[in-house]
Amino acid sequence: MTPRDQTTALTSVTAGARARCGRAAAVTFFGSGLSILLLFAALGPRPALAVPAFAAQTSQPCATCHIGAFGPHLTPQGRDFKLHGYVASDGKEHGPPLAWTSLTSFTHTAVAQPGGAAPRFKPNDNVALDQVALYYAGRMTSDVGGFIEVKFDGVTHQFQADNIDVRRVREGQLFGQDVLWGMTVNNGPTVQDAWNSTPAWGFPFNRSALAPTPMAAPLLDGALNQRVVGVGAYMLWNDLLLLEADVYKGLDSFALRAVGQVPMDDGDRTTAFIPYARLALIRDWQNHHVEVGALALSANVVPGGNQTLGLGVRKTDTAFDATYQYISDPAKVTSDRLSAHGTYIHETAGMEGSQAQALTGALPDHSLDTMRVDISYSFAATVTPSVQYFRTTGTTDSNYWGTPNGSPNSDGMIFEVGYVPWGKPGSPFPNMNLRLAVQYVSYFSFDGSSANAGSNNNFFFSLRTAARF
């Protein structure tokens, strides 16, 4: 699985700084990375795909669970598999559920970045081995399953624990209807979510780690992923109502170092308990799937990048999301599919007045609103064009945001076309899959300014591969 670029997930105002500071050499590493890929290939991948171990466990092609035949964009069947604890199986013995993926890319920005896109990178036109990831993914017992991902980040040169979600599920009856009960242990709010309208798995599924990105983003928008650990319970009643409650605990410095978050530790810090809640209404017809939902969390954090000189901020995020999918022929996993998502996150961030004064006159309260809408159409689970509009707006405060005019506002569009040759019934190479994509990011405004926003526009060509050991 490929989360919404967790490697470059931006953390409040510190995100841009982290992105800029964390861009390490990959061109120089490319040769050795290619060697690793070739070594993995020589080990002989077996039936494979998005999370290839899942595909083998269920004897299904990638296209059964993934729009466009490649993760992490889920179909209704993919969501069912996740909500039911990753335990669905063809009943056969497949050995340890190990798999790997890789991401290699080329980034071109409209204007070269002086000093290099990152240490040891050129100012422009960079090739990178973004990551090589190893997964333990699948059924562990009859009612326990999950995925545990570790990766080597070829941009920051860090080994890291990536997304983790392990869950146990039971089925029963409640008020005369089917009910699914589950418990999850995971390492980030929405990592455990089954809808791509929530941040961890939202579009774009990959983006450049070597292109400029806006500085401001809400806490819920991936800032806590891999920096917390949480346990939660959820209930899906009558395939209609999903309720979930989790509590997260921020990792301390030792734990952050252990999971590879140091030295690229420039995100929001917290060791507090963080409550999280999720509600969703779901309706499936044969050709149509609709979901509308809400999310919320609240946390005391110390913003990274020394944004508040080490002073704590209480951040509360509320969000709404919606998903619509149209499946032209449900009996064919390769049928054309339209998919649309909407996400809106409202964040309030408050400091005590005296603390705000300590920030040389910063306002005590700030708000930040992020919205995204995207739509894609997958042709025969092979070619999938997508487009997204994104927008972030917030309280202008030059003493709080690290932007030239004190505004955190940014907006723009992303255009992408993905091509996946395999992962379908009858594919000639059932033992592996790959996804080629070209993406163009266009900014209308960037960090509070429309002037020169286009200089951050970028092309991102990517190759993602996946296989099972």
Partner: protein, 108 residues
């Protein structure tokens, strides 16, 4: 003569009753769901499960007891699997690969 006629009528009636008891129903897996969500059968009735999708399915029958289950195995696209419901009670038919594929069967 009347006795023979009565015996013949009884015999034919028995055949008809037996034929009714051995009814066969066809249920498809189409679009990764069963074509019907429930069924009521008599003891001895059969269900023929068809796979109308382009991916592999499975048929796993749970019941009528809590610990009773029969796994009919994997079902390739276009293949059929048949099960005879010999015991009265409540069954749940599922595809072990696709959690959303499920059907309740009541046998009397």
């Amino acid at each position: 003569m009347n006795i023979r006629l009565a015996a013949a009528v009884a015999f034919l009636t028995g055949i008809i009753v037996a034929a009714q008891a051995a009814a066969t129903m066809t249920v498809g897996q189409h679009g990764l769901v069963f074509t019907r969500s429930s069924a009521s059968l008599a003891k001895g009735d059969r269900i023929v499960f068809t796979n109308e999708d382009d991916v592999i399915h499975n048929i796993h029958i749970f019941g009528p007891g809590n610990d009773d289950s029969t796994d009919l195995g994997l079902q390739k696209p276009g293949a059929t699997l048949t099960y005879k419901f010999d015991k009265a009670g409540a069954y749940m038919v599922r595809c072990s690969i696709h959690p959303s594929v499920k059907m309740a069967v009541s046998v009397k």
